[in-house]
Amino acid sequence: MPSRDPVKWAIWGLIFLGLAWVVVLVPNGPQYVINGIRFGSLLMLGAIGLSLTYKILNFANFSHGDILIFGAYVALTVDWLLVELIPRWSPGLAEVADGEVMRWLAIFAAMLAGIFAAVIMAYLIDRLIYRRMRRSAAVVLIIASFGMALFLRSLVQALWGTGNRAYAVRISLPYTFDFGLFQIKMNLLQIVTIVVALVLVTLLHFFLKYTKTGKAMRAMADNMDLARISGINTERMIAWTWAIGAGLAVVAGVFMGLNFGAISPNLGALVLLSLFAAVILGGIGSPYGAMLGGLMIGLAQNILVGPATGIATHYQPAVAFILMILMLLFRPQGLLGEAERRS
């Protein structure tokens, strides 16, 4: 019975107490919450793919972060090209709002190109490598995905170099939202980040809940053999899984590049660790758990270190790991996961 699970309710209690403490007692607290939601919504998008492949293909995909960064780099090149080319095609458009509209259009078009490239890459890797290992032990697939992670990172380094690269978008000045007792400063980029993540997560929810393909994906995650004997083409569903996971990861990657000011080839591997923490926190194998976990890790990293507690922000990654370890100790199935039943 989920309602009689004291550990779960204790965790929820801690989360709400923590949030209440920050909002009410910490000076400038609501601002940290907003920062946490912004970063958390990116982790949320990244974590969904990790969770889906874990549930459906039964292995922890260590190359997920590098798929994310590969797509982000493809988007970087397309973005750069578009910012060069749009003024030649349409000088008028390039001048609207001092070029800002053009830059936003370019980044969204570039993101679509990055998604496309990453989806193709993920699909090809699956066809060429993982497909031969469908019946292998999970550890074989994990090692294979390690190999793919190194391959992708080296590919990115070979094509784009090892340094930091930035998108051609200008960060506008923040708007101040005044709620009387507290004020929140957000610029357009931060608002767009949160809105895009929420829209995509909502779309994914409707896709999984109401479309035939979405239902078939959930059915397959429940029981692969039963899905096959029901006539579900499992290979096609696996392709969908890769496409959704890689696509959302690239959106996360591009927005990380925008929010952090730059991307580097190692960013994927760094982020992967936070993504794993998110997936474990929420409950491994549940896409909704991944969303919740991403948000929680983002919030924790922006609230538990930094000005609110006086701990240096260098410890941000450590927060993710401490939470992950605590979760594995006290509730290994995660917040939304169900205890493993052995039949």
Partner: protein, 234 residues
Amino acid sequence: MSLLKVENVTAGYGETMILNDVSIRLEEGEIVALIGPNGAGKSTLMKTIFGLLCPRSGRIALDGKEITGWPPDQIVRLGICYVPQTENVFPSLTVRENLEMGAYIRQDDLSFRIEEIFQIFPDLKAFQHKKAATLSGGQHQMLAMSRALMLDPKVLLLDEPSAGLAPKLVELIFEKIIHINQTGVSILMVEQNAKHALKLSDRGYVLATGRNRFEGSGNDLLNDPEVARLYLGG
């Protein structure tokens, strides 16, 4: 020509062969029971027929068409459906979604067929928006059979439909099986509840250590002293 024919099939996992040279057939309109001790290979035979396991040798034909080595999602298109013994519903999907998945290969509107299924299993209707994981044992088994019936198959494979159910529910499930058979579905079923199964079956096979041991009409097997002594518990 038999509706379903398994000829000299040898199959297993890796190097271990579970089935050795097994042959069975199912004629149109029949109920055929497969009985035998645990580990005799009954469930393995079901999986092999449905393509979850590829036979090492032998052939399987449905309606005269050879399906040996076909993948399950192709076999299901030929009008044969299968209810595995365990894990035979999608627990995180609702009852209705389970039924929709049963007819995944159909492109048209399923609501009419779902209503027909609810007439066979009225208990399910009230639970149609509940997750399958929340169902009781009897409802679970009814949903498992309903999922397989969604395509209105010619052949239904049932693996231990009465396993783990209370006696009253066993009775109910067997009634439903007879009813389904009367609507024109030929049924091949594995049963632990051997006496009961043979009583309602047209024919039966006794499988032991992966081989055919006995074959006959349901009554003949019930009255065979050796079958009774070895497999029906005296």
